[in-house]
């Protein structure tokens, strides 16, 4: 959103304390979210209004049916509350920050930091995501709880699985966004590429509609992509559509995609930076 944070103050960071820099960066990323509380309030009002409309459409779809594809109407309300709560934390409408840094050539300054580029950006985004979760996500859940009532995970095990799934959904989503932003190393047209990718993400991760409602064939295609792991898996674990052994399998799939995307990011980043050197950036 805004410019890069200033490097953490308090003396030079030694290579020995390899966690100190990412933690400081994450803390700054977290704090920066609270700079414009008024904008956050308006954003919350806007997201609530869209939540209201989405709930109306889903409830009208259900009509008098008590259950569809494992979802009750109350589950559908919970689904809407969760997806509205995660919009900002997971940057579901897109993220161009790294792309901008590449375009401006500021990425060369990033390389001077005593932390890997990927770790640096992941830390910053983790802080940003947590800030947005506190600032916008939790109030959104509270609003939904007050107006419609939410279904909550049934026990400690389900809570643990949901928490794990939220972390993996963020990691998976961040790595996907980072990978898309890397397109800027090769093309000045990366913004268009990004917009295209975010549209695919919106449909594929279950933001527009719970994936369980889609026809079998379409779901089978999506199951072979990392997109469901970026939101839909978390929702299904929360409302209990996925439980028992299937829950662990779902978490395993999220983890596998996170590792795969991490490798893809590392390879792409290395190739991109080499290209930068060739170009003399």
């Amino acid at each position: 959103m805004t410019t890069m944070p200033a490097p953490p103050t308090g003396g030079p960071v030694s290579r020995r304390s390899s966690l100190a820099l990412p933690l400081a960066v994450a803390r700054l990323g977290f704090q920066r979210q609270f700079a414009y509380p008024q904008a956050a309030l308006w954003g919350l009002i806007t997201n609530s209004f869209f939540g209201l409309l989405r709930v109306a459409v889903l409830l009208a779809l259900f009509g008098t049916r008590p259950q569809v594809a494992g979802y009750t109407p109350q589950d559908a309300i919970t689904y809407t509350g969760l997806t509205q709560a995660f919009i900002m934390a997971f940057s579901l409408f897109g993220w161009f920050d790294f792309m901008r840094v590449i375009h401006r050539g500021e990425v060369t300054a990033d390389l001077l930091r005593p932390a890997s580029l990927l770790v640096f950006w992941a830390a910053q985004d983790a802080g940003r995501a947590l800030g947005q979760l506190v600032l916008r996500g939790l109030p959104m859940l509270a609003i939904f709880q007050v107006i419609w009532g939410l279904n909550w995970p049934p026990g400690p095990l389900a809570w643990a699985q949901v928490t794990l799934s939220v972390l993996l959904a963020w990691a998976c989503g961040f790595l996907f966004r980072f990978l898309v932003n890397c397109a800027a190393f090769w093309s000045p047209d990366a913004v268009g590429f990004g917009r295209f990718a975010w549209a695919v993400l919106g449909l594929g991760c279950g933001f527009l509609m719970p994936l369980a409602f889609f026809p079998e064939g379409f779901r089978a295609v999506l199951a072979r992509t990392p997109f469901p792991g970026m939101l839909n898996t978390t929702v299904e674990l929360w409302v209990g559509v996925t439980s028992g052994p299937a829950a662990w399998a779902a978490l395993g799939t999220q983890l596998a995609w996170t590792v795969a995307l991490l490798l893809a990011c590392r390879v792409t980043l290395r190739a991109g930076l080499r290209r930068l050197e060739v170009a003399g950036g």
């Binding site: 414009y36 008024q38 904008a39 308006w42 954003g43 009002i45 806007t46 209004f49 869209f50 209201l52 409309l53 109306a56 459409v57 409830l59 009208a60 779809l61 259900f62 009509g63 049916r65 569809v68 594809a69 093309s187 000045p188 047209d189 913004v191 268009g192 590429f193 990004g194 917009r195 295209f196 990718a197 975010w198 549209a199 695919v200 919106g202 449909l203 527009l208 509609m209 409602f213 889609f214 026809p215 379409f218």
Partner: protein, 272 residues
């Protein structure tokens, strides 16, 4: 008359410059257009793909919903192409960077320059998709073909263009005072588009009434659609309310431009 022709020539010349600059990066343009198209396509697909499982939406068939959805999307995208310069994020960027002040220095009408300042050609494929959805609705909804239907549908689209254009102008004007409320305006513009894309009887009574009597969104296409489908209007509204409904848009637009004049007079620059 001569004055009008001069302004139209000027507007077209400004658009020409925009179009040439947007065509400079061909791949970028194609990707951007595809991405823009895909946003609408994904949103619509999410609805169309799940409808068979549910059978319908509050007693409305896919064809009937396509009529509402397609008309609203068609009008909104056309409006976006026409009024994009007034959209709060665009205008507030001009205000903050000080480039709005240069508009005032140029020997051309200010409003005309704002109109021509964000003509995004990449939205054209979305127009085609919206038209296709509306056409599917026209073919599959039980409408009587005839001049009255054609006239009312055309008036509805033009009315919606005016209505949302008016909201863009109001949102843009607000940025002369504050930029914080920009996102709240999105609730009315993009939210309003979403709201009227579905049959409004699915909303709770207070929400539907707010967007009928306080913000006259229901008059734009919902009431005309009810009339054309032979359904009764809500709240016992008389049938002629559907026929004069599209007038709500031009009224909002006229009010918006009055507000715009006040805002421009108030504008003092950012000092940059």
């Amino acid at each position: 008359m001569d004055n009008l022709r001069h302004h139209l020539t000027l507007y077209l010349r400004l658009l020409g410059a925009q179009i040439r600059s947007q065509g400079a990066h061909r791949t970028s343009f194609i990707l951007d257009a595809l991405g823009s198209l895909l946003i609408t396509a994904a949103e619509f697909a999410a609805l169309a793909l799940v409808l068979p499982r549910f059978g319908g939406l509050g007693g409305w068939t896919l064809g009937e919903i396509c009529l509402l959805y397609g008309l609203a999307e068609l009008a909104f995208v056309l409006m976006d192409i026409l009024f994009g310069g007034f959209d709060a994020p665009n205008l507030s960027a001009h205000v903050r960077s000080g480039s709005f002040s240069t508009f005032l220095l140029r020997p051309a009408p200010l409003t005309l320059q704002v109109f021509a300042s964000d003509f995004a050609l990449r939205r054209l494929p979305r127009v085609l998709l919206a038209a296709a959805i509306a056409a599917y609705g026209l073919l599959h909804a039980p409408l009587a073909a005839g001049p009255e239907t054609a006239a009312l549908l055309t008036a509805a689209v033009l009315g919606m263009i005016c209505f949302f254009g008016g909201l863009f102008v109001i949102g843009g004007t607000l940025t002369f005072w504050t930029v914080d409320s920009v996102e709240a305006m999105n609730a009315l513009t993009y939210g309003g588009r979403t709201l009227i894309s579905y049959p409004m009887d699915i909303y709770s009574a207070w929400l539907r009434r707010t967007f009928t009597y306080l913000i006259p969104a229901a008059f734009l296409s919902y009431l005309p659609a009810l009339h054309l489908l032979g359904r009764p209007l809500p709240d016992g509204l008389p049938d002629w309310a559907a026929l004069i409904g599209p007038l709500a848009g031009p009224l909002v637009l006229a009010g918006a431009f009055v507000f715009w004049r006040v805002g421009v007079r108030h504008y003092q620059g950012t000092g940059t």
